[in-house]
């Protein structure tokens, strides 16, 4: 009998068919990746395996067999017996997935006691044992910490420890590394790999990231609109995708090992220069230096990528460049003139297009803001200009009077770009402009930015955590760590021959799309990493 047998599964939320006639099996000890973009129904499938849609108003059809339990027909008590004991789930956001009020060890012990009737003492001991198993240092002491005292990676380890507590046969991991930095992601994926090898766990991995799937799974099932598009061995699907959608998806995935495709421009004069930028937050003992002595120059027509992990200071740097934050010390020069405060010639595009547009105003009004701020134009001229901008970023004139919620994520980011263009800037600082978007949309927005740069002679600063995207868009790149630029140079040079050990470590952690390469890298990561 297979570990998981899903036959003709449908899940409907009201009129929405989230999952529509999906069937697959997973054998004991095997690993299957469900890959798809947002809204493809992949997480809904993961929830259905544990019967999590019961009593939520969703209609579930078809049959789901997990470790011998018929999930759709099981009683509530049988279902609780399955959850956590035979099949355990690891969630995307490890901070919000743990109860903030209780010690991590106690939460694991609680789950253990639900399924084993062990004594409190035995359950605590078990919690420490599994925390140690997933690589939490000093587990006996750290078991008494609350989740907020853990780092992101440690929290995800703790959730995996909770999953291991009752020695389940199946681990369901729903975007387990999406909220984590790339080096931490590599550690967690390595941990999942080791657990599979040593405990014989079956793994169902839900992810939007083809690279993560390639690192971890044997088989892959590509989903779209609640249906299976393509299902087969990972190697075969990656090497020779049969379906057009799979091909499109794979083609959109930015590659960290592929040189930049867009033609490089002859860089012009220097438009923006930062010298010795430094920014502190807090005072006294709590003072924290977010950006520490960063200098950079940006020339007309070029894209400077700034890449780093969370907390590296890249967003703070971006905000200082546009004048949204005053540097504690150092100077910023626009066109050779020292400058402070915001200036129309340097604009910003934000990460989350949904929250950076006012939901109560039409997009036309939002885009017109910089024009009206400048003044001297009548309403008709403003409207004409806004319509032109909308068309320039690939939207339609008819979109002028609609509200942000009527647009998709990619369209909203285009609106954000149009708003930045409205002031006729010479420089646009993009802070994680595509990290909230699906890969196919990501590729379109990246292409748009590149086109604008060439046609309008813009200089772009592209701040991102995704090394592959940065390689795709940048002429030069600066790698940041703890507020400092550890390495900077032409993008191909930095990526091909990284000089700084940290850059090397970052690049080694990026999931490879080729399972062979992934295995080689995993072996290399077992060597002690440079500090």
């Amino acid at each position: 009998m297979s570990l998981v047998e899903v036959t003709d599964l449908t899940v409907e939320f009201g009129a929405l068919h989230a999952v529509d006639g999906l069937s697959f099996t997973l054998e004991k000890g095997a690993a299957l990746a469900l890959v798809g973009e947002s809204g493809s129904g992949k997480s809904t499938v993961a929830g259905a395996l544990l019967g999590l849609h019961r009593d939520t108003g969703a209609r579930v059809g078809g049959s789901v067999l997990v470790a011998g339990t018929d999930v759709t027909a099981a009683s509530d008590a049988e279902l609780r017996g399955l959850r956590g004991a035979k099949a355990a789930m690891v969630f995307q956001d490890p901070l919000s997935s743990l109860d903030p009020y209780y010690a991590v060890g106690d939460q694991i012990a609680e789950v253990y006691r639900v399924h084993t009737r062990a004594s409190r003492r035995a359950a605590r001991a078990r919690a420490v044992e599994v925390l140690d198993r997933v690589g939490i240092p000093d587990a006996a002491r750290r078991a008494r910490s609350r989740p907020h005292e853990f780092s992101g990676g440690m929290r995800q380890r703790a959730l995996i420890a909770m999953a291991l507590a009752c020695e389940p046969e199946l681990l369901i991991a729903d975007e387990p590394t999406t909220a984590l930095d790339v080096t931490v992601q590599a550690q967690i994926l390595d941990l999942l790999h080791t657990l599979r090898q040593e405990n014989g766990l079956g793994l169902l991995l839900v992810t939007h990231d083809v690279g993560v799937a390639a690192e971890s799974a044997d088989d892959v099932l590509v989903m779209r609109h609640g249906r299976a598009v393509e299902h087969g061995p990972l190697r075969r699907v990656l090497a020779a995708p049969e379906q057009p959608y799979t091909r499109e998806l794979l083609a959109s995935v930015p590659r960290v090992d592929a040189p930049r495709t867009a033609p490089a421009e002859e860089a012009g004069e220097t438009v923006l220069e930062a010298v010795g930028l430094r920014r502190e937050f807090g005072r006294g003992r709590r003072a924290f230096t977010a950006v520490d002595d960063v200098s950079l120059t940006l020339r007309r027509g070029e894209t400077l990528g700034i890449v780093g992990e969370s907390g590296s200071g890249k967003t703070t740097l971006g905000r200082m460049l546009v004048g949204l934050l005053e540097p504690t010390s150092g100077t910023i020069r626009y066109d050779g003139r020292a400058h402070s405060g915001v200036d129309p010639s340097v604009q910003m595009v934000f990460q989350d297009p949904a929250s950076s547009l006012n939901p109560r105003r039409t997009v036309g009004e939002s885009i017109a803001d910089p024009l009206r701020a400048k003044g001297g134009q009548d309403d008709r001229a403003v409207r004409e200009r806004v319509t032109g901008l909308l068309e320039r970023v690939g939207l339609e004139a008819a979109h002028h009077d609609r509200y942000p919620h009527e647009f998709s994520g990619g369209q909203r980011q285009r609106i954000g770009i149009a708003r930045a263009l409205a002031a006729d800037p010479r420089v646009i600082v993009c802070d994680e402009p595509v990290s909230a978007l699906d890969v196919t949309t990501q590729a379109q927005v990246v292409a748009l930015l590149d086109e604008l740069r060439r046609e309008l002679g813009l200089a772009l600063v592209f701040v991102a955590h995704d090394l592959a995207v940065v390689r795709q868009v940048s002429d030069r790149v600066a790698v940041m760590r703890r507020g400092q630029v550890v390495e900077t140079g032409p993008v191909d040079e930095v990526y091909e021959n990284p000089r700084d050990p940290y850059t090397r470590q970052l690049l080694a952690a990026v999931p490879a799309l080729d399972p062979e390469v992934a295995a080689r890298r995993r072996a290399a990561r077992r060597e002690p990493a440079p500090a």
């Binding site: 959850r83 956590g84 004991a85 639900v114």
Partner: protein
């Protein structure tokens, strides 16, 4: 634990500063009012000599800030009032003299305070048990008939004025059914059992109405917590609904309950006038209303200060409980 000690220290300092600020405000509001303060303080039946004497005792010739410091001095070290022929000593904490009743404000207060504290302490236990219990129950049984019945009862409780509920309780329990005698305040020290029996109806009528607010707050806070990700985690690990509601969701809902309770306790000590009047309890609320009516300024100032003291202390205690419930507060 070092962080927690520091937190306590900071919180205590904040409480002290708040209390001082409140005392300045109360003092200025009442004593810097236009009109003849000595005449008002002494009362309408005072002779001109008496008014003159009061003016001297209140040091009305001194500037306001000196008078305030003198008042503070009385609070911390006590002070002497000369009546011309004899000297009356008012020991710390001296809140002044009530010229109209010819008593020290503190003496008056100490006679009333146990009544108010008795009323509020008992009612608090009841409103917490009934209110939070109802809230937990209706969050647990959400969407079912029992929840709807609870919601209707809660709303009815919220909409009922305390004197209506108290009257109905008295008529039914004491009049018709004759289960209890009509309430009459008995001091705890005299007979604890009679103290409790006599306070039962006042406790119930005050608590039932407050409980309605707690039930609604607890329910909504719990539903909010129940929608959070970590609840999903424990469901996905087979933890039963009872443990999820009772352990995880309730813990998350405690913070607003603690905050509301602090407010209610603080304000009920001086503000349960209706309940006190209805059941003939000689508490602070009643005394305060009386003092305001006859414009007995020293009593009003003293009582308002004491009530403010309880509100501030109740909130400080709430903050500490809050931090104990959620250690992340200490870090902030």
């Amino acid at each position: 634990m070092n962080g927690f000690g520091g937190f306590l220290l900071r919180r205590a300092a904040g409480t002290l500063i708040t209390l001082l600020a409140v005392s300045v405000l109360v003092y200025v509001v009442f004593y810097a009012t236009p009109g003849n303060v000595a005449q008002i303080t002494c009362g309408p039946r005072c002779s001109p000599e008496q008014v003159h004497q009061v003016a001297a005792q209140l040091r009305l010739d001194d500037p306001l800030y000196l008078r305030y410091f003198h008042f503070l001095q009385g609070l911390f070290v006590g002070q002497d009032y000369s009546t011309g022929t004899s000297v009356e000593h008012c020991a710390a904490p001296c809140l002044g003299l009530s010229y109209q009743s010819d008593q020290q404000v503190l003496t008056l207060l100490l006679a009333k305070l146990p009544v108010s504290l008795s009323l509020v302490a008992g009612a608090m236990v009841l409103w917490l048990v009934i209110g939070v219990g109802t809230g937990v129950l209706s969050a647990w049984r959400r969407g079912r008939l029992s929840e709807r019945v609870l919601t209707v009862l809660t709303l009815a409780g919220w909409a009922t004025p305390v004197f209506v509920l108290g009257l109905v309780l008295m008529i039914v329990v004491c009049g018709e059914l004759q289960l209890l005698p009509f309430p009459q305040y008995v001091r705890f020290g005299d007979d604890p059992e009679q103290w409790a029996w006599n306070l039962l109806l006042p406790w119930l009528s005050l608590a039932l109405i407050e409980a309605a607010a707690f039930a609604r707050l607890t329910r909504s806070a719990m539903l909010e917590t129940l929608a959070e990700d970590h609840i999903r985690t424990f469901r996905a690990y087979g933890v039963g609904e009872r443990a999820i509601v009772g352990r995880h969701a309730l813990r998350g809902a405690l913070a607003p309950v603690i905050a509301l309770n602090a407010n209610n306790v603080g304000s009920a000590i001086g503000g349960a006038v209706l309940t006190e009047t209805l059941f003939g309890l000689p508490g602070i609320g009643q005394e305060l209303v009386h003092a305001v009516k006859v414009v007995d300024l020293p009593v009003v100032v003293g009582m308002v200060l004491v009530v403010a003291f309880f509100v501030v202390i109740a909130n400080a205690v709430a903050d500490v409980l809050y931090a104990l419930a959620d250690r992340r507060v200490v870090l902030a």
